[in-house]
């Protein structure tokens, strides 16, 4: 059975599925209930599941993320929503010092089956305190699993395996993806361990994830029209990282360009670059390249924000330089 769904609806259906299938599941966070979710993801769930399981919290990220950890330790399966990755910094302590460390620190006695969902990324003129991409910070931490669903299918299917996972899982939902629509076929995205090739190609590998996937696919079509056939790899899972999916591709195409919305310095693209250098250096025909956000707090004005983010034109230009040595 196939249906047309938005990313937002897909995530809502995924939440419904989790709430229906497991009575231990609850959704908690700021304005997830009465308000319907700051991105309207949880709209209608309060009426269906009630205020105990669709639990509005005060504005206290440290407190309610920590409480989510305790709830998970106590036998519940909490899904904790944080409005944006910027606000999640107020909860870095419980996520890094408790959730991620708990299993190891307790010698395997306690584990934290909690899912944390948060919006990430720019593109809506929300400026420097609502627009950042810090996925790589979380992917740095052993003990966490980090997912970046970039398609309707993944938004619909990655949540349930994350809820069933015995360890803490952080899910990044790029705010620009919520209105994305696509035909959805049940059951094909329920994998939280592998990346995917989203577009096969032969001339270079474009490696990306999350909100940068649409711009990368768009750039790929432009390149194809000009006779360059890029392969597009969607990482999907940033930790534990599926290296095989991009190493195998790079070994065939001999060129790699990484596209991400994080800042270049110390960003996740640097990690991908290092893995390629360590394991596929002699397969390369050219240095690995990156298209990242400008090194600036994301600005408000539309033209400045656009200039700060990886745009399809910049991806195309970087790809052409990489393949043909052409000037931008």
């Amino acid at each position: 059975m196939s249906a047309r769904l938005s990313y937002r609806e897909a995530m809502r259906e995924a939440l419904r599925e989790a709430l229906l299938r497991d009575s231990r599941v609850l959704l908690m966070g700021e304005d997830v209930g009465m308000y319907g979710g700051s991105y309207a993801v949880s709209k209608g769930l309060l009426a269906e599941f009630g205020p105990e399981r669709i639990r509005d919290t005060p504005l206290s990220e440290l407190g309610f993320v920590g409480a989510g950890i305790g709830a998970a330790l106590g036998g519940l399966r909490p899904i904790v929503e944080i409005m944006t990755v910027n606000f999640s910094l107020l909860a870095l302590d419980p996520l890094v010092n408790s959730a991620a460390a708990m299993r190891h620190m307790s010698g395997g006695q306690f584990h934290v089956p909690m899912v944390v969902r948060m919006a990430t990324g720019a593109g809506r003129q929300l400026a420097a305190q609502h627009s950042h991409s810090l996925e790589g910070w979380y992917a740095h931490v052993p003990g966490l699993k980090v997912l970046a669903p970039a398609t309707v299918e993944d938004a619909r299917d990655m949540l349930w395996p994350a809820v069933q996972d015995p360890d803490p899982v952080v899910i990044f939902e790029h705010a620009q993806l919520y209105n994305l629509e696509a035909q959805y076929r049940p059951g094909s995205g329920a994998d939280i361990t592998h990346g995917r090739v989203r577009r096969p190609g032969r001339d270079l590998t474009l490696i990306t994830f999350g909100g940068s996937l649409p711009a990368t696919l768009q750039a790929a079509e432009t390149l194809a029209a000009a006779g360059i056939e890029p392969e597009v790899v969607d990482l999907r899972v940033l930790r534990p990282l599926d290296e095989a999916v991009f190493l195998e591709s790079v070994r065939r195409t001999h060129r790699a360009l990484i596209v991400e919305e994080e800042w270049r310095s110390g960003g996740f693209a640097a990690e991908i670059t290092a893995r390629i250098m360590e394991q596929a250096f002699f397969d390369l025909d050219a240095p690995v390249q990156r298209v990242c956000s400008a090194e600036v707090p994301i600005p408000y004005a539309k033209h400045l924000e656009e200039a700060a983010l990886p745009q399809p034109a910049a991806i195309v230009a970087a790809a052409r330089r990489l393949v043909r040595g052409e000037a931008a």
């Binding site: 920590g66 409480a67 305790g70 709830a71 307790s106 010698g107 584990h111």
Partner: protein, 327 residues
């Protein structure tokens, strides 16, 4: 001096548990000196009445969340001394397989949730544990220990608010030993009456003489009953004092010898034994027998920790994630 209102058996149990903590901490200090224990080591000497008085009001189904000064709580909760010591020796037989050390003692069997070394870090976790207790319709409550230093943290305020808002079964036990490392309460708080802070979240809050195990136990028993009955969280401020420095690295320059000596006169252990002897329910022989039992227990525990195997370094990455199929 009022009579201790307990059976001889229970009174001697309180003496034994406080004595166990005192002697255990003394042994730890020695073992630190001989480099058997490393890392940070925070001793509970002087504060014994708090862990013993409070945790003797806890039931097996309850959960406990403690701080990095938690050896005493772990012992009273029933984690065997030998696996606590083995943990501090960094051995595979330790309760956390040598991953945690002194500051991170955990035990699933007794629902002992650490061993949290982020000041205030245990409070949100305790709040969530209490949420699970209620949503899963269980009857347990959560005993959450933290120092007075934690009240300056946002985690304290966020947790008090959440627990009171949702009327969760948590007993917040603030061990006020007057100093957050070297910073006295008066130097860090605009409001030094901690019960006023807790009370502002709409929960009953009570100051308790934390050097008197009877006062602690009576207060904890009645507060725990109220929490268990569904009345929402409660707050106890247990006024106590640590005789030793903050940790083994602390030169203790921020308080006077006179102050320390004055508090030692109110020692929880000799306070209780003095009362019991005066009322004729404990003899010096009883006390010496307890001393001998405790000594034997810890001699065996030290030997166990010494002999315990090291975790193979090949297993370093074990338990970062749950193995496939496990939970």
């Amino acid at each position: 001096m009022t009579d201790v209102p307990y059976s001889r058996e229970f009174a001697l149990d309180l003496v034994r548990e406080m004595l166990r903590i005192r002697r255990f901490e003394e042994i730890c200090a020695e073992l630190y000196g001989t480099m058997k224990i490393r890392g940070f080591l925070h001793l509970y000497i002087g504060e014994e009445a708090v862990a013993v008085g409070v945790l003797r009001a806890a039931q097996a189904k309850d959960a406990v969340v403690a701080t990095y000064r938690e050896h005493g709580h772990a012992l009273v909760r029933g984690i065997p001394a030998k696996v606590i010591l083995a943990e501090m020796f960094g051995k595979a037989s330790g309760c956390c397989r040598g991953r945690g050390g002194s500051m991170h003692l955990f035990d699933a069997a007794t629902r002992f949730h650490g061993g949290n070394a982020i000041v205030g870090g245990g409070l949100p976790i305790a709040t969530g544990l209490a949420l699970a207790e209620r949503m899963l319709a269980r009857q347990g409550i959560v005993f959450c220990f933290f120092g007075e230093g934690a009240v300056a943290e946002g985690a304290f305020h966020e947790s008090m608010n959440l627990a009171a808002l949702w009327r969760l079964p948590v007993l917040f036990c603030c061990e006020n030993n007057l100093y957050a490392m070297g910073t006295s309460l008066a130097r860090s708080e605009s409001q030094t009456d901690l019960c006023v802070k807790a009370g502002s979240y709409g929960m009953a809050a009570q100051p308790v003489d934390g050097m008197d195990v009877v006062a602690v136990h009576e207060a904890a028993k009645s507060a725990a009953e109220a929490v268990r009955a569904g009345g929402g969280p409660r707050f106890l401020e247990l006024r106590t004092y640590r005789y030793r420095a903050h940790s083994m690295f602390d030169p203790d320059l921020y308080r006077s010898k006179e102050e320390i000596e004055a508090w030692k006169k109110r020692g929880p252990l000799h306070g209780l034994t003095g009362r019991l002897k005066a009322q004729g329910s404990m003899s010096e022989e009883d006390f010496q027998r307890l001393e001998a039992e405790v000594r034997a227990e810890f001699e065996e525990a030290v030997a166990f920790a010494e002999a315990a195997p090291l975790e193979p370094a090949a297993d370093l990455l074990r338990d970062v994630y749950t193995p496939a199929g496990g939970a």
